[in-house]
Symmetry: C2
């Protein structure tokens, strides 16, 4: 089983500090929110008094049930902190803030560190951190940090960490569902996390209007040459009274198409503007496809924004996707 070595520098920094600003990334999902809250709750258990969890964007509707989610602040407190800890992200840009008032900066993340970031003054001035792209979720790293700090897990911490791992492993489905992620999930359930309650809140609490939107969107399903795609238009949002928040997971559906290696979700985001989510079943690197349109992400899950009419956008993107698919053969 792969294990991550937790840096003693990070542990010492935590032990020696007393005020913490914990920040996740923009457009936060379960790993960002759950890991941040779990870290905050763990530090509280260690007797740290001044802890603030910060998120530029609001907590998504289906994550508001997470213990202590209501305490998350959207504005930077005016006071200075001993340490700011970036969780589930590794650059200032991803936090959505320009600066933080903190004497030291630390990172707990599992994303690949871009070469530019590694050379940036922000990164070279880091006090401590753990960046492990091999970890399925930042939640697994926070779990290890808390364990190394001898924090006894309770239900609030376990629930937040379970949600973090659940989201980032696609419900223990993706290839990152390591023995470690399952073993950690097992510990978390023993510590009080309830798989059904958490899954119910995250996956089984879709507004009626969202499923209506899904029905309309699935009617657009097309496939060709190992690529499957769907489209949500602004008309559909209007007809169902929905917003982009209602179609966060829609790209999962073209991905489910048998024989589809690449799945694309085209979401209209203005006149002649489309936001794309791309998924790969393993053969194609969709981060490269997204990058060629100025986007980014992971090898198997990426996104970008493309302008033009729907037809133009689809033609452009499908062409690049077809080429990428051909190169794998």
């Amino acid at each position: 089983m792969k294990t991550t070595k937790i840096s003693s520098k990070l542990l010492n920094l935590i032990k020696q500090s007393s005020s913490f600003l914990i920040v996740g990334h923009i457009n936060p999902e379960g790993d960002s929110i759950g890991s941040s809250l779990a870290l905050a709750l763990g530090l509280k258990k260690l007797g740290k008094k001044d802890i603030c969890v910060l998120s530029k964007d609001p907590v998504p509707e289906n994550l508001k049930f997470l213990p202590w989610a209501r305490t998350i602040k959207r504005r930077r407190p005016a006071r200075e902190f001993d340490v700011v800890v970036l969780v589930d992200c590794n650059s200032m840009e991803r936090t959505g803030f320009e600066t933080f008032r903190a004497r030291k900066t630390a990172i707990i993340d599992h994303h690949v560190l871009p070469a530019e970031t590694a050379k940036s003054p922000f990164y070279t001035s880091l006090s401590a951190g753990i960046i492990d792209p091999g970890a399925a979720a930042a939640g697994l790293l926070v779990f290890k940090v808390l364990k190394a700090l001898k924090v006894e897990l309770d239900k609030t911490i376990a629930t937040n960490l379970y949600a973090a791992i659940l989201i980032d492993t696609g419900g223990f489905r993706y290839s990152n569902s390591s023995p470690e992620s399952l073993k950690t999930a097992c510990h978390l359930v023993e510590a009080g996390a309830s798989p059904w309650n958490i899954s119910k809140e995250i996956f089984e609490n879709i507004p009626f209007r969202g499923l209506k939107l899904l029905g309309l969107t699935l009617a657009t399903l097309e496939r060709k040459d190992g690529i499957a795609w769907i489209t949500t238009t602004e008309d559909m949002f209007r007809e169902t009274g929905t917003t982009s928040e209602d179609c966060e997971e829609f790209v999962d559906f073209p991905r489910k198409v048998k024989g589809a290696e690449v799945a694309i979700f085209f979401r209209q985001a203005g006149e002649n503007v489309y936001k794309l989510s791309l998924r790969s079943k393993g053969k194609v690197n969709v981060r490269k496809i997204a990058k060629s349109f100025g986007g980014g992400g992971h090898d198997a899950a990426a996104g970008c924004k493309v302008t033009g009419s729907l037809k133009e956008v689809q033609n452009k993107v499908l062409k690049v996707a077809r080429k990428a698919l051909k190169e794998t053969k």
Copy 2:
């Protein structure tokens, strides 16, 4: 952690026998198929030479990837076996066969034993068995049996058992996702099961036509008083070139509706005949609702067949469901 005591009678029976007929249930799913195959492969590793896995109904399309699934027979061999082992079911009726040529009968199952079955000659003449309704999947019981028999797991066994547990815990989402199921999954991944490959085959391999059918079906989504329901008609099957096999998981969608405590899927199965799948989020016992129409199942997942026009059927069933829901308040 809850553990099941494996009966020494069962272990001795296995040790002392050399030919085995292993039978799952009609309309088999991942737990029935995966557990049966894993048991067969495990017994083979113990040096047992004559093993036959039998299934009345064919292996579903999305389970054909399971190691050794192709060896499953649909017809009873003429020869006599030392033991017939019923897996994931506990009555002859559920196997779809009337008799087996076997000197002894054993059961490995996790379904509640109906009072009638417990009194039946079939049951009282059982040679050995393990029936544990507390187990999330029959696969967990087979895992324990193989462990007790000191069978070393390999990738083929681990893959079959992982699929079994994955299916019956709803991908580790349902309330039966015990620490035990997660810990066992962890062992299985360490023994060679690949979460992504298995999940991909089971959940991400939906025929294009099936997703088209889902789109049409979601357009029928309705909800009232904590009940959400959808309908697939024979017209929709014709329009998309699909069959009932394409809508096996459709009931998951009304279940996802926020605020829905009961989800119902009405599937037309002839003129004025509807097959229903019912799901509960925990408050309502849908087995009781199904039972009042001559059906059955589990407390949270049940089914029945109701005759009448769609409107008549829906009115009848929704009335009973509303009453059941009211009684929980």
